[in-house]
Symmetry: C2
Subunit: 398 residues, 2 copies
């Protein structure tokens, strides 16, 4: 229904409270909510410029990089992906994109939109790529850019990227990494691993609302950017201009999303107050508790244990559980959101996220209790007893 006349107005916002334990967004940290109520500064106010610099400096710490070109793109995570690719790829450039899930496919599609000649290295969903396999593909394709997903949000699989920078250098390729689901949850060591370009989002490991895409470009990516033969096809994502805005020149480009920057700054402060190592350890700890519970309930995950992300588990649904009805019950009876499956796993997995602020004991217990109730009501035989009890036992013993 559409109408040009004034509609009867919707009422005051009053959504039912949820616990967001899906693949993101994750719940906001209360301090992030408070930060967003801070009165606006103008986007060229000297005090705001200082906040921008502070935000960049903390982003560098979280990305573990000294890259000068480190900033939040004024768009969601997918905008960060587009910003990476559209700045590095020109029409006719070869791109090697590693696909083992939904977001690898997205990267391949975006690279095509950039006019690149895209070679897809395909793996089954939930699997990962070995250094040998990638070396072979690099040798065959000789791409300008190798794109890969560090934490595949559709499968919960962790792709090791620690070897990637060195490997890409052997073939003079740029390593571009999707860190949307990893940043703030699992290590992202841009400089140590010699990653040339990476992007992330605000609404998962950083416990902020969706709307910003942290991005970092290293020296080789920067060189490729300035060696382009054609202007960057996107004005909005053009990093040569964004660099002048976020750099010392402060040349106006677009109006920064001020409230979102406030949120990100607070989210980053929280990450660094906790400390990266402590934060990664916390994610591992609560993931182990969750897994103890899932095992007790007889549930398995899509990804193999060796590459299972701590912040996101894609749990295979047992026979007898209806995806849509089950998630509806979780949402309506328990106020818990988990994610459904994507692509070929639609209807076959539930994606449970314990990210950032939500990687904590209460969330583990709540989701296990609710899962157990729903499964038992569906007639699933939870062979090894209570999930909550198993998680409790884990916490007690660790």
């Amino acid at each position: 229904m559409t109408s040009a006349s004034t509609p009867s107005l919707p009422g005051q916002l009053n959504p039912t409270p949820r616990l967001l334990l899906g693949p993101g967004p994750s719940d906001l940290h209360p301090r992030v909510v408070a930060a967003m109520t801070t009165p606006l500064l103008g986007h060229l106010d000297p005090q705001f410029l200082l906040l921008m610099s502070e935000t960049q400096e903390m982003l560098r710490a979280v990305f573990q990089t000294r890259n000068e070109l480190t900033l939040p793109i004024s768009a969601t995570g997918s905008g960060g992906m587009e910003a990476c690719l559209v700045n590095l790829l020109e029409p006719g450039d070869r791109a090697l994109i590693c696909v083992a899930g939904y977001f690898g496919e997205r990267m391949a599609e975006m690279a095509r939109r950039c006019g690149a000649e895209v070679h897809v290295e395909q793996e089954s969903w939930g699997k990962t790529f070995s250094p040998d396999r990638l070396r072979e593909a690099l040798r065959r394709v000789r791409p300008k850019v190798l794109g890969i997903v560090n934490a595949e949000t559709s499968t919960g699989a962790w792709q090791d990227i620690s070897f990637l920078g060195a490997l890409c250098r052997e073939f003079d390729a740029l390593a571009v990494v999707d860190c949307v689901t990893s940043l703030g949850c699992t290590p992202v060591a841009i400089d140590t691993w010699q990653i040339d370009a990476a992007f992330s989002c605000s609404q998962k490991g950083l416990s902020c609302p969706p709307g910003l895409a942290p991005l970092t470009f290293g020296p080789r990516a920067l060189e490729a950017l300035y060696r382009r033969k054609s202007p960057v096809r996107s004005w909005y994502f053009d990093l040569t201009a964004l660099r002048s805005y976020w750099g010392t020149e402060r040349v106006y480009h677009h109006t920064a999303p001020i409230t979102m920057i406030y949120a990100l700054r607070e989210g980053l402060r929280l990450v660094l107050e906790e400390g990266l190592e402590a934060r990664f350890e916390r994610h591992q700890r609560h993931a182990r508790a969750l897994r103890a519970g899932l095992e007790a309930l007889g549930l398995r995950t899509l990804a193999e244990e060796s590459c299972q992300l701590p912040q996101l588990h894609a749990v295979l649904l047992p026979d007898g559980v209806n995806d849509v009805q089950g998630r509806k019950r979780l949402l309506e009876e328990f106020g818990i959101e988990v994610g459904g499956g994507l692509g070929e796993y639609k209807g076959r997995v539930w994606r449970i996220g314990l990210m950032g602020y939500n990687s904590r004991t209460n969330c583990v217990f709540q989701v296990l209790a609710a899962l157990e109730k729903v499964l038992i009501d569906c007639g699933v035989h939870c062979s090894r007893g209570s999930g909550v009890a198993a998680a409790e036992a884990f916490y007690a013993s660790s």
Copy 2:
């Protein structure tokens, strides 16, 4: 300074309160601030999907259109400009861009990035285009798209677009309008004026934070979109996909910036509660009060009176007033932000905005009092007496 080690952390957010009377962002309405503290829903939660629909329906009312494809782009106003152009222009298409200020230039540059053959119709900054002149240009260029700015943020000039749709139809061109500074302040009657595509922002007339770009596409624009020979170059801004996400299919595209949508929904509720006509009248009223005060201070504006926007005045600086020092005093002594000039008017004008929530008596008095103090201290002879008194007299008599 960059460092890969943990930096000493910046402190809690604590900016000095400002009154934002520049070209935007403008201050948030308090109800918008409250709306942003609402706990997150997931972006695929049925309750959030309903909020999306409500937001679209209110956006239609504010754009005065029945266009189904009416939605907020997940980017700032410039992202909305890019979304309009990248969806409508293919490489080699002719675009006629009308330039009489900074944002007309931006539109021309973006159209070039889309691969279009761009013809610029140039006018002096602060002037506007007549129907005859545009007819002549359309006849000469025969473009696919005519791009024009309804409210030029760099000059404060109002461009009449009421005739544009009919005129463009004579030449089978699409009328694309930048409504960034007009929506919520001055009339934007998309359907009556037969505008084919338009975009705006969240941080001016709608009193929300920057970060969203309301956009609307009419039937002819939609037809052009689906007749494209090549895929839209941008994945992020591809309206064929965004239409499926925001339409009844709800096909996941990217994670909507939930908190920003909460803010926009509340900003739109405020607009429609007030009523469009009452809101436009309010903007006119406080603009007249401001102008009475500016005249008393002997100040002139860049735009001619016949095309002066009520929501934004570019005031020419009198001799003896240093731009940067003067704005610094306004900011630091009075807590008031006004905008500096852009392009050839850098250092020569101050841009004073009375937009949305900030179009009110208090703001008029505050900015006139501060201006008067700064001008007198610079030795400017304010010939006709007090600006505040003149505004008071206007309010008393109207």
